[in-house]
């Protein structure tokens, strides 16, 4: 593990049982992510982006090979340890926002802190701060069904960021958004990446997202075909 690297993957293979045989979704991937990166896994549909992202987020485990996510190796990753890791250090942003419809914006953002048993006063402060980052302080009492897609995704960003995680994984975060909203949330994430040194890893095939990335990892048929850093 290099200094400052937060994820290391070596010779990762992930296959799924289908029918009688197996389908190999990721085939021999070795990658290294460092703190503060703003990177993306890019590739056509079915290339394995989501599968890879889920393994990075310890939602799934490799079939073969090794991963070390935030200091925990895949062979030591019990479901409990994985849950703890996600709870403390990893934030997720989904294509479909996945907000809890019965909760207000405030309560949605507060949720990860409740899981962490953060004291109430501290919680309130952190939630308001996170909502300020995404520019939604005027919507704290709204519920998700009353929000636009762009607003919903900003709430999801605030929810992922409120605990100041080391790593944020965003799977097609702009797929349901128009251009204006896409740029807005990407700028928000870029800003948070710079201010808080949070590592962002995207999975996307959206050109708008690709335009913001400082590292592009191209995936095809479960294999890395290119990995380039972009000077900005």
């Amino acid at each position: 593990m290099k200094n400052g690297s937060i994820i290391t993957i070596e010779s990762l293979i992930k296959s799924f049982p289908i029918g009688g045989g197996e389908f190999t979704a990721l085939n021999g991937i070795s990658l290294n992510f460092e703190k503060g990166e703003f990177s993306g896994i890019v590739g056509p549909s079915g290339s394995g982006k989501t599968t890879l992202l889920n393994i990075l987020g310890s939602l799934d485990s490799p079939t073969k090979g090794q991963t070390i996510v935030l200091g925990t190796a895949s062979d030591q990753m019990s479901p409990r340890v994985a849950a703890m890791l996600r709870k403390k250090h990893i934030g997720f942003i989904f294509q479909t926002y996945n907000l809890m419809p019965v909760y207000t914006v405030f309560e949605n953002v507060e949720f990860p802190l409740l899981l962490l048993k953060t004291p109430a006063a501290e919680r309130k402060k952190a939630v308001l701060e996170a909502l300020e980052w995404v520019g939604l302080t005027d919507k704290i009492k709204s519920k998700p069904p009353q929000l636009s897609g762009g607003e919903s995704q900003r709430v999801a960003i605030a929810r992922a960021m409120v605990k100041k995680p080391d790593l944020v994984l965003a799977d097609e975060p702009t797929a349901n958004l128009d251009a204006e909203n896409s740029h807005h949330i990407l700028q928000t994430m870029e800003k948070l990446n710079k201010e808080l040194q949070t590592t962002f890893v995207f999975a996307t095939h959206d050109e708008k997202v690709i335009g913001y990335l400082r590292r592009i990892i191209r995936l095809e048929d479960g294999k890395v075909v290119s990995d380039e850093n972009i000077k900005k």
């Binding site: 889920n54 849950a83 997720f92 989904f94 479909t96 996945n98 019965v102 409740l114 899981l115």
Partner: protein, 390 residues
């Protein structure tokens, strides 16, 4: 704590559906408590009345005496034991002599029991003070049921025929000196009460009785030869059996209501787990363990029972309280079962009944909430997040 808050929010969010389930479930609570309250109240009332009118704290039966076998009556008499006679003179024991008789009201013929009762008694509610053992005429009292079926009124004369100790028939008119109202049919239907000494004379059984009612049960090991003590355990056995049968019959009704509510909860759980896969996946992505998520959904289903307690208390408490005040009018003929039944039955809701019912319904609700939730622990979070299952 999160689980409860979340469950509460989700239930409120589900609105009408929750309200309906909670209402039906609250109905189950109230009905279970109400129905069992009736039986408990009936049981209590029947015991209290039966103690007051018939059995007091127990009865000594002459060893031949068997109320279910009329043939034994001819031999079921013996001199009242000295120990019992002593308390009888203070009114604390009631010797009763029983003989089979035939009565002829309005020219009809009816079978009856002619019972001689010690008029000094102070422990049974039968108004024996009306009876006059020293009068020329034979004074008798009967209950309202017999009075009605035989068309008797106070002051009427009734022809009674009986056998004496030698088996010889004898007959006489008795004067109805009083008619009493009782909830205990056993001292009313077909029972003609006359003074003990009078019946002893008529039958030629001086100083004898068939049974002696007492105001306290004898201590362990105290026996009187030729007499068997029958305590409450024995005397109420038939009553208990009857209550049990009725309770089982009555429970079918509320068990159906309860089953309906549980089915609705089960259904809601299955549906919400299916519809909320994304939410489930999101919880897992945010670092909850599957067990915790199963917990959230179980609490959510189980919370129906908590809300139902509140709603049930809201309308059930005043309703049930009202029934304890006004009682419930018993349908005519209820006491034909031979069970003591007053015109109004006062349900009795014990704390044990209320708490027991709440605990029972909560456990049942939690189980039906848990069963579908177990499915969560088999879900693949990746699929769940995208709502891809099924």
């Amino acid at each position: 704590m999160i689980a409860f808050k979340l469950a509460y929010k989700n239930l409120i969010g589900a609105g009408l559906r929750t309200l309906l389930i909670v209402f039906v479930l609250s109905l189950a609570y109230v009905l279970i408590i109400y129905m069992n309250g009736i039986y408990q109240g009936w049981d209590r009332q029947a015991r209290i009345e039966t103690i007051a009118w018939e059995v007091a704290e127990g009865q000594y039966w002459q060893s031949e005496y068997d109320p279910y076998d009329a043939m034994t009556l001819t031999d079921a008499h013996a001199p009242v034991p000295a120990a019992l006679e002593a308390s009888a003179s203070e009114g604390k024991a009631v010797p009763i002599l029983i003989t089979q008789a035939t009565i002829y009201p309005e020219g009809r013929m009816m079978g009856a029991m002619l019972k001689g009762i010690d008029t000094r008694q102070k422990i049974l509610s039968i108004p024996t003070n009306i009876l006059d053992p020293d009068s020329e005429e034979i004074t008798a009292i009967v209950g309202t049921r017999l009075a009605k079926s035989a068309g008797l009124e106070i002051g009427d004369y009734l022809l009674v025929r009986w056998r004496d100790v030698h088996g010889t028939f004898d007959a006489s008119d008795v004067k109805i000196a009083g008619i009493f109202k009782t909830a205990v049919p056993a001292v009313d239907q077909g029972q003609v009460w006359i003074p003990l000494t009078t019946l002893q004379k008529l039958t030629g059984m001086p100083g004898e009785a068939s049974l002696v009612v007492v105001d306290k049960s004898p201590g362990e090991g105290v026996t009187i030869s030729g007499w068997d003590f029958k305590g409450h355990d024995f005397l109420f056995k038939a009553l208990e059996e009857m209550i049990k049968t009725k309770t089982v019959g009555g429970s079918v009704f509320y068990l159906i209501i309860l089953a309906l509510a549980l089915l609705a909860i089960f259904d809601t759980q299955v549906l919400s787990i299916f519809r909320r896969q994304r939410e489930i996946g999101t919880y897992i992505a945010m670092g909850m363990t599957r067990k915790q998520v199963v917990g959230i959904f179980t609490v959510e289903g189980g919370m129906h029972a908590i809300l139902a307690v509140m709603l049930g208390a809201l309308y059930g408490f005043p309703l049930l309280l009202w029934t304890t005040k006004t009682g419930i009018k018993m349908p005519e003929g209820t006491d034909d079962f031979g069970m003591a039944a007053a015109e109004h039955m006062y349900p009795y809701y014990s704390l044990a009944l209320i708490i027991g019912t709440i605990v029972l319904v909560m456990i049942a609700t939690t189980i039906v909430s848990y069963m579908p939730s177990r499915k969560i622990s088999k879900m693949n979070p990746n699929d769940a997040i995208r709502g891809k299952i099924i």
